[in-house]
């Protein structure tokens, strides 16, 4: 392949793929037991970070950015005046192998615009996976985008070679999607999303009977929603996410702050800042749901349809529910300790272990990793100073904001500050 041509293709097809934010390489279970190349690292590895601070774990490319559709939020849409390119199957295989060998990547994230029709496209994606696995003995990670409308047989076969499959909801609600991508509907997404777990269950059942059942999408499925292109509330977004986690046992839902790429009047105009803080707050809520035992209704409801901008959702919940505080560090359930602002999962676990050896004091909490200045408003421990009056939630918020002015108010960063 010619040097310049392959560079050009890579530039075009990596550029077009980058708006899909999921890059996780976690959950893979593939072992290198055929003395081939690669294995999966259960928690994934970020091999580098882009200058916008996002993890780079996979070679994320499109097979082609030619597309017969015209989704308004997408750079590859038919009506957009961009350079088009297409990789051959072998080019993708070679790039993946050579990047992997140099420890640049954990694997391949392959997606594509739809050329000709869904099955034609899906067949080619499948071919890349098969060549990697069967010809190259490649055991690294493969995340494959399911092409909406592809036939069940192709999806099922792809599931034998991919570690993760995903298909994007794109917009949090059907109405939002219809507005920007009239040819698409959530139903197209739901069908394959439901199909894959059925097969995972089927394969798991077969495994009990027959020994050598191949793995089927071992790292599960994920999806992505674009945030801020359409007028949904945070409540709409998170309720949709919650339903998809529940109904399709998704591994991850990704929230991608919309980066303006179009002048269409239905969309935020070019040059508008992507809603990075909002994206961060949504991820925090997602974590609270998945790892902190919160129900989505506790965080977002009709009275609170949007997340606070100035404080994180965990603090926000605590301040609205001061009746649960202060929590006694030396007595309370693990479940309740997890809900204290300033205490994360690791610290909470250490607290319940350490307190068996004696009542914990402030200095020990600090060493354990508790953000004490934040937590102190919500806890008592062995040597808590005696507090004369109960503060109101609003007062506590003011204290915390005053203390952490610089850190939490200068919210131009999309940093994942987790409580």
């Amino acid at each position: 392949m010619s040097f310049d041509r392959i560079r050009e293709k890579l530039n075009i097809l990596a550029d077009a793929a980058k708006y899909d934010v999921s890059c996780s390489s976690s959950g893979g279970t593939r072992k290198n037991d055929n003395k081939g190349l690669g294995d999966s690292h259960s928690s994934g590895i970020c091999h580098t970070y882009t200058e916008d601070g996002r993890c780079v774990s996979l070679l994320k490319i499109l097979l082609t950015n030619h597309c017969i559709y015209d989704c308004l939020f997408c750079v590859s849409r038919k009506s957009n005046d961009v350079k088009r390119a297409a990789f051959t199957v072998d080019e993708v295989v070679e790039l993946t192998m050579n990047f992997y060998r140099r420890n640049y990547i954990e694997g391949l994230f392959l997606s594509s615009g739809i050329f000709k029709n869904a099955d034609f496209t899906m067949e080619r994606l499948l071919l890349v996976c098969k060549k990697l696995r069967l010809e190259q003995n490649y055991n690294g990670y493969i995340h494959l985008k399911t092409i909406p409308g592809a036939s069940d047989e192709l999806i099922k076969e792809a599931g034998l070679y991919a570690d993760r499959m995903s298909i994007n909801l794109e917009m949090p609600t059907e109405a939002g999607l219809k507005l920007l991508a009239p040819e698409k509907s959530h139903a197209d997404v739901i069908k394959p999303l439901a199909f894959v777990p059925q097969n995972i269950t089927q394969f798991a059942a077969d495994k009990k009977l027959i020994k050598h059942v191949p793995k089927f999408v071992p790292a599960g499925q994920s999806t992505q929603m674009v945030i801020g292109a359409t007028p949904e509330t945070d409540k709409d977004i998170m309720y949709t996410a919650n339903a998809f986690y529940k109904n399709f046992s998704l591994k991850r839902v990704y929230y991608s702050g919309y980066v303006p790429i179009s002048n269409d009047t239905r969309m935020p105009i070019l040059g508008t800042q992507p809603p990075l803080l909002r994206e961060n707050r949504l991820y925090q809520t997602d974590w609270l749901m998945r790892f902190y035992g919160f129900k989505v209704q506790e965080i977002l409801n009709d009275a609170n349809p949007n997340l606070d901008v100035d404080i994180d959702p965990k603090l926000s919940w605590a301040i609205r529910n001061m009746q649960h505080f202060p929590v006694d560090i030396n007595k309370a359930d693990y479940r309740m300790i997890l809900r204290i602002p300033g205490i994360g999962v690791m610290s909470a676990q250490k607290i319940v272990q350490a307190r068996k050896f004696g009542k914990l004091r402030i200095d020990q909490l600090k060493k354990i990793g508790v953000a004490y200045n934040r937590a102190k408003h919500f806890i008592t421990c062995a040597d808590s100073p005696y507090q004369l009056k109960d503060y109101q939630g609003t007062q506590i918020k003011a204290f915390i904001l005053a203390e952490s002015q610089s850190k939490y108010l200068k919210t131009d960063s999309n940093q994942m500050i987790l409580f």
Partner: protein
């Protein structure tokens, strides 16, 4: 009272053995490298003894689960002078208390080990992430590294399992030893860099002709993947501290 040891792991374990033999009361453990005789304090030089060390290690294995044995080993690999003393005190503490004492995060040695182990594991993880191999003309994938802690023993298996079908060398330039995987086993090696081999970059080691192509493609990819509208240098540097940039192909000017 100060115990002095040769900064080897068996030496450290022997020190614990000696302490239980003598019960000299409060003791601080220091390595020969940092020990400075003080006029008014007694010292005792530990003679490393593998039998004694093995007995202490076997004792620890009975008392601690795998995760804590690992924390112990990682803390040792940190090579931090104070870590040696914490390891020494921790071991005594573990032997003097009933099973489960290691979960007492109120104890200063427990928390110290947890912290050292965390830093070392982070460095290990970063090495697994940030190492970039270059394909040499004789077919070996080579990299030179400069880790803060002695993490090569911790990363060996990861690379062996992953790159089972290619020969590779990971060389610790600071500690002057490396690992070579020869398609079967991983062996420790030392390389003599004096005859014109640039240690940072194996430029005198002849690179494969395709090496240039893939490093350029990777740099291109790194640029393309960035979304300019989301630029966040602070976060970028937090994830990829500048001291690691020297390893990263994508951070080298073309």
């Amino acid at each position: 009272m100060t115990y002095i040891f040769d900064s080897s792991l068996p030496g450290l374990l022997t020190a614990v053995f000696e302490w239980f033999e003598r019960k000299p009361g409060k003791v601080v453990l220091k390595s020969t490298e940092i020990f400075q005789p003080e006029a008014f304090s007694e010292s005792f030089t530990v003679a490393t003894n593998s039998e004694k060390a093995d007995r202490v290690w076997a004792g620890l294995q009975k008392k601690l689960k795998k995760d804590w044995l690992r924390k112990f080993y990682c803390s040792y690999l940190s090579e931090i002078p104070e870590a040696y003393n914490h390891l020494f005190q921790f071991t005594i503490y573990i032997f003097q208390n009933s099973t489960g004492a290691e979960t007492n995060y109120g104890n200063e040695h427990v928390i110290a080990l947890a912290k050292y182990a965390k830093s070392v594991e982070r460095e290990k993880h970063r090495m697994e992430a940030f190492i970039r191999f270059q394909h040499t003309a004789d077919g070996i994938f080579y990299t030179g590294v400069n880790p803060d802690f002695n993490v090569l023993p911790l990363i060996s298996n990861h690379f062996k399992n992953r790159y089972a079908d290619q020969q590779w060398i990971i060389y610790d330039l600071k500690r002057k030893y490396g690992l070579h995987y020869n398609l079967n086993t991983v062996e420790e090696i030392t390389i003599d860099f004096t005859n014109g081999v640039n240690s940072k970059n194996p430029s005198a080691i002849l690179l494969d002709e395709k090496e240039e192509l893939y490093s350029v493609l990777w740099k291109d990819y790194f640029k393309s993947a960035n979304i300019v509208a989301r630029k966040n240098t602070k976060l970028h540097v937090q994830h990829v501290p500048k001291r690691y940039w020297k390893y990263l192909t994508e951070k080298q000017l073309s």
